[in-house]
């Protein structure tokens, strides 16, 4: 269960104070696939950063399974990101001089998994995201955008997180690959009861989620979605 309580994040830009996240509150049950839509600069990525403990709110709190992130020291926040969160960045943010399998192994290395175990799991995850096994050992900069996105998703799944935060996961992909990525995230939710929150411009993608939020001028509102849009969604 994720509870977002009166979350505010402000930035100072010269004389102006910008509030990309302005008093946002909502709750997400475990195993929910949700989306946040909104215009560019509406604060979607900022909200995602706050939920993933990449940033600290100006006020308000995010409570994950009863634990407040606002009161957590940096060391614990790092542990939270490592254990509970899987990020899929819009720009993939993979380490360019490492291979696909090495990138997927990184979070497991930080979690203290033995090399043989993390190598095996990394290969399984790359197969799960349907990356050609021949490309597992290939450097990131020699993979296509779609392939890199699959590696990024595999990396996000490495430590079996409770929450996956995906920022425009299909933004750099063609429609077919984008659909496949959505199917992949849905199946993860089904198989592992993972909560998935997707920030997207893609209305088609948003329509396939269980819950849909819209962020406008820092304010979050929930929009109705078609029931059972995605196979396996919780009742």
């Amino acid at each position: 269960m994720i509870e977002v309580k009166n979350l505010v994040r402000t930035f100072n830009s010269g004389d102006r104070t910008i509030k990309p996240v302005n008093d946002v509150s909502f709750e997400l049950a475990q195993g929910t696939l949700a989306s946040i839509v909104g215009k560019s600069g509406s604060g979607k990525s900022t909200l995602l950063s706050l939920l993933g403990a990449l940033d600290k709110p100006t006020s308000g709190d995010v409570v994950v399974n009863g634990v407040s992130l606002a009161k957590m020291p940096d060391r614990k926040l790092t542990e939270y990101r490592r254990r509970d969160i899987g990020f899929v960045f819009q720009q993939f943010n993979l380490i360019p001089n490492l291979s696909a399998v090495d990138n997927v192994m990184l979070p497991m290395e930080f979690a203290g998994l033995r090399r043989a175990a993390r190598l095996q799991r990394a290969r399984e995850l790359l197969e799960q995201v349907q990356l050609d096994p021949e490309k597992h050992g290939r450097r990131i900069n020699r993979l296509s955008g779609g392939e890199q996105q699959r590696v990024a998703i595999a990396r996000a799944l490495a430590n079996e997180p409770k929450l996956i935060l995906a920022d425009e996961p299909t933004g750099n992909l063609d429609e077919q690959t984008g659909d496949h990525i959505i199917e992949l995230l849905s199946s993860l939710r089904r198989e592992h009861n993972t909560t998935i929150l997707v920030v997207t411009h893609d209305r088609a993608l948003a329509n396939k989620t269980d819950r849909r939020f819209r962020l406008q001028q820092g304010k979050l509102t929930e929009e109705p979605v078609r029931a059972k849009a995605v196979a396996g969604a919780p009742a």
Binding site: G52, E79, R81, F87, L94, N97, D102, E109
Partner: protein, 489 residues
């Protein structure tokens, strides 16, 4: 992939830049190591000098007037008194003789040259303060230093048209109670054995290498002093031309030849440690009395050691400066690398990398660069350290060397002035090629060798600096929030 493998891979991300960084580091580290090696070599030399002769005091009869001689000779009783002084570990008596080639002496006598102007041991030459009048004896030996090498001053015809007889340097013979030279330094015997039997009946002698070569003598050869035959038991190398124009006999033999049994020209007193030298010197002077004996320390050695100490300090400062430069290079490189990879650090933090892992990754990367730079620097140091040490020593010991050379020049002039006037003091060490007189040779004999221990110590220091240089920027960056790095890109 482990953090080590990742760091090694990162170090070679940009091969051209890595090569350039390693080259610059190699020069700085090589210089640092060369300075450290020079520092250690000079330090070892200072220790060696202090250990060999730094604890030696010389006792001469009081009241000497240089070449005029003077003062009451020292005695065996005074030697016993000296031995009883606290912290004195050994007392060796010496008896100085002056040998003149019998043929030349006869020719000069026939020419009336005896007793001419310019007494033995002119000012600053053979005679030092308190020198006892050395007995002059005849020998079959010919001096190793030819008169012609002294500027031909004794060969030239005067304005009166009188032809001067051929003259050469006298040969210094010293009776010793142990195999040490007149400064207490152990003789460097290059061939044969020591004197062995120290009784009055001993006919063994040690000759300087050049003196033996001049007279075609080898181990077992014989020569005469006052018509008594002596056998060459060993050859020694004093390190100087004048030092090798000398012979050593046993003390009783020399005393018997001089006809002064029980009398000593000087005493070599060894103190048990360098720290006790000043105390022992004061106590020794008090025990012997200022009216009977002068207790001195080798001033040239102090100068030499002081000069080497300057080289040691300079090389240490240069080592620190070069090490600091290497550290600064690593720091700047790592600052550049960390700034270049801020996004990567942000990503690593976002996926759960603790700060220590990020710091370790950059430290290992810096250590890879430092290791490569150290390997190349060690090669540079192994070739350059000898030359750098020599350059430092020759630059910083000019005054000492000049002073030593001047001293030897005065000794030459004094010694060449003629052998006729009796009373030339011969007791002061350093007059004729003693170890203190050869200060320049002492200084330049420093050998800088790149020992594994010193190199390892230097590289450990470089690694220490590299760790700090890498940790500071990496941890400063790792402490900021991941979003600040990711958003900033």
């Amino acid at each position: 992939m482990s953090v080590l493998a990742r760091s090694v891979g990162n170090a070679f991300r940009n091969k051209v830049r890595t090569a350039a960084v390693v080259a610059v580091l190699a020069v700085a580290i090589g210089l640092a190591l060369a300075m450290l090696v020079a520092n250690q070599a000079v330090g070892a030399k200072v220790q060696e000098l202090n250990a060999s002769v730094g604890t030696v005091l010389t006792v001469n009869p009081a009241g000497g007037q240089g070449f005029e001689g003077g003062g009451e000779p020292l005695t065996a009783n005074q030697a016993a008194t000296a031995a009883a002084v606290p912290n004195v570990s050994a007392v060796v008596g010496t008896s100085s003789l002056r040998l003149r080639n019998a043929t030349e002496a006869a020719a000069q006598t026939a020419a009336g040259g005896q007793g001419g102007p310019g007494g033995q041991g002119g000012p600053g030459g053979q005679g030092g303060p308190g020198g006892q009048a050395a007995a002059t004896l005849t020998t079959s030996l010919t001096a190793a230093v030819d008169a012609g090498t002294l500027g031909n001053r004794n060969q030239a015809s005067g304005t009166t048209g009188t032809t001067q007889p051929v003259r050469s340097l006298p040969i210094t013979a010293t009776g010793v109670g142990a195999e040490v030279d007149t400064a207490g330094k152990a003789l460097n015997i290059t061939e044969g054995t020591g004197l062995g039997d120290y009784s009055a009946e001993s006919t063994n002698a040690l000759l300087g290498t050049t003196l033996a070569a001049k007279n075609n003598l080898a181990i077992g050869s014989t020569f005469t002093i006052n018509d008594q035959t002596y056998t060459v038991a060993g050859l020694f190398d004093a390190g100087t031309t004048f030092g090798n124009n000398a012979a050593y006999l046993t003390l009783p033999t020399a005393q018997a030849l001089a006809g002064v049994p029980g009398e000593l020209s000087s005493m070599i007193v060894t103190v048990d440690s360098l720290e006790n030298v000043d105390t022992a010197k004061t106590a020794l002077q008090a025990a012997l009395g200022t009216d009977a004996a002068d207790v001195t320390q080798g001033q040239n050695l102090e100068t030499a050691v002081s000069s080497l100490g300057s080289v040691k300090n300079i090389s240490f400062i240069a080592f620190i400066a070069a090490l600091g430069t290497a550290g600064l290079i690593i720091l700047l490189i790592m600052v550049m690398l960390v700034r270049e990879r801020r996004r990567e650090i942000g990503v690593l933090k976002a996926i759960g990398a603790p700060n220590r892992t990020i710091g370790l990754q950059f430290v290992l990367e810096a250590l890879v660069l430092a290791a490569l730079g150290s390997a190349a620097g060690a090669i540079i140091a192994s070739f350059a350290s000898g030359g750098i040490a020599s350059a430092l020593i020759s630059t910083n010991t000019t005054s000492t060397t000049t002073a030593a050379t001047t001293g030897r020049g005065a000794a030459m002039a004094g010694a060449a002035g003629g052998a006729g006037m009796p009373g030339g003091g011969a007791g002061f060490p350093g007059g004729q090629g003693g170890p203190f007189g050869g200060a320049s040779q002492l200084l330049t004999s420093v050998t800088a060798s790149a020992s594994p221990g010193v190199i390892a110590g230097g590289i450990a220091a470089v690694f220490g600096v590299a760790i700090i240089g890498a940790l500071v920027p990496a941890l400063l960056t790792a402490r900021i929030r991941p979003i600040e790095v990711l958003r900033g890109e």
